[in-house]
Symmetry: C2
């Protein structure tokens, strides 16, 4: 029986590539020495049927294509340098819709102060937008360079987009976060300057990112109380028969940053963020629930292909 990619899942495919390519930095972006500075680079492809909700406008598709890439720069604490756009569209796509996508891209480039420097157009059976974001920083923030007792923080609320994907609405905060996510590029630079010890962006859910960050001998203890999940969130999830904590931890598309910082450096932070937990020596990723009980967080997030879906 031939093994298909759906049998092994996206993460295994990525691991395979990394195992064969010794120059790959296993972090949010590549780090390449360039004339004494660090060139930070990342690429991400968005496919309409998989990444854009049905009610997403063409403008927002273009904007998001920049956001997902800039978010990886943010996770490294990088300053933006330039953005390259590869876009494929069906031949019967109205030109006005194409122009709307480009408007979204350019609006995002302006929003993030990352100039559109190059690109490529193509024809495909559906809209596919592949972006490359380039940045620079003397001191890139990696995922796993925290130390024992470092505090774990997030730059904003999680789970909002996840709830938004389940609503049939348009104006509420959840749907807005689902359709118009924003990368935390200035926050990434701030936390790096404040002396954060590690960081990553939350795209597949906080749970998944914590397991990406985890290294042997270290663990994380998150406190549900400190996540600050609102009563409205719990209530709205409940009305939809969804488990609010599961939604918040395991879905993703938040584009907030989760980072670690020593107690000493915490005072250097000049941005709003929540302290949600601590680095421990438990070798587990755990959460203390509101009722006081401690549970291991499952290593589960959004994954392409997995399980033949």
């Amino acid at each position: 029986m031939t093994i298909k990619v759906s049998d092994i899942g996206e993460k295994e495919l990525v691991k395979y590539i990394i195992s064969r390519a010794s120059d790959i930095t296993a972090d949010d972006c590549a780090i390449t020495s360039f004339d004494g500075e660090n060139l930070i680079s990342t690429c991400d492809m968005l496919i309409r049927s998989r990444h854009f909700p049905e009610n997403m406008s063409f403008f927002d598709m273009g904007f998001k294509a920049v956001t997902v890439n800039v978010s990886d720069l943010a996770a490294m604490g990088a300053e933006p340098v330039g953005f390259l756009l590869s876009i494929a569209v069906p031949k019967d796509l109205p030109v006005d819709d194409f122009k709307q996508i480009i408007s979204g891209v350019l609006s995002a480039c302006s929003f993030y102060s990352i100039p559109l420097i190059g690109g490529d157009t193509n024809e495909a059976s559906e809209i596919i937008i592949s972006g490359t974001a380039l940045g620079s920083t003397k001191k890139p923030l990696l995922k796993n360079t925290y130390e024992m007792d470092d505090l774990i923080c997030i730059t904003g609320d999680i789970g909002l987009a996840a709830l938004g994907f389940n609503l049939n609405a348009s104006d509420d905060i959840y749907t807005q976060r689902a359709l118009k996510p924003k990368a935390r590029i200035t926050e990434g630079i701030s936390i790096k300057n404040a002396g954060a010890s590690s960081a990553t962006d939350i795209t597949d859910g906080l749970a998944s990112e914590l397991y990406e960050m985890k290294k042997d001998g270290f663990g994380f203890m998150i406190h549900e109380e400190m996540l600050g999940i609102s009563d409205d969130y719990i209530h709205t999830a409940d009305k939809l028969n969804l488990n609010y904590l599961d939604l918040a931890l395991h879905t993703g598309e938040d584009f907030e940053l989760v980072f670690t910082i020593s107690k000493e450096n915490l005072k250097n932070l000049d941005i709003d963020c929540k302290v949600i937990g601590r680095v421990t020596d438990s070798d587990k990723v755990e959460i203390t629930l509101k009722n006081g009980s401690v549970r291991q967080i499952e290593n589960r997030g959004y994954e392409h292909y997995a399980g033949g879906q």
Copy 2:
């Protein structure tokens, strides 16, 4: 009646993007000042049903995805720095086929001395490979910086791949060039060092590239004799009822470089190449045929969407 992208064609879409993005270098690659050096960057997306011949192996698909991007670096005379790979595959693709694609990518990266530094995997309805090539050079070669009387040269034979696409074969030179094209990265660096005045890579056909290079007040005179089209080529095209000159000039996928160089600098060249013509003041792109007659070369090459195809 709604205007579709197929009504206006790929080149108009690209022009539209360039008209709205003031930071785009209208050349083969983007040129970005990075810490005093020039960061050269380009991206290109290949879609299986459109870019890979039916008899192309998975290995060769991966190899070509690197080639098309490195070719743009070559056109700028850039030294390779790194390659980023975004790959989407159908969920029922056998893992072994995926691994073959990656092998092709890595083999090409090694061949061109361009390390694979990052990437992304995805699911799509067909194989889509989007690559970004990064390079550097103090003095990038542009497309239109030639001067009157500069000689026009090419780094190798043109039209071979075009013929290969029409053959139902495997071992001949034409099919090999169609399935296994090579970017001229070392040649690009050599011609830059020799003092070439302009360059571009031949992907949509020599005719198309000459029109891309053309600027007001200048023209090009190409000499058919100097193209060195072989008797075997003419004979093979003829057996297929194809016009050999049309095939050679207007199809593309050659990945050779066409460049200009002054008579004085010609002697600095340390690579094999053919002098095929001269920059003139005719304001036309012309060819002197073997029989001595002069004809204007049509501005025609391979283009996505155009004419509702």
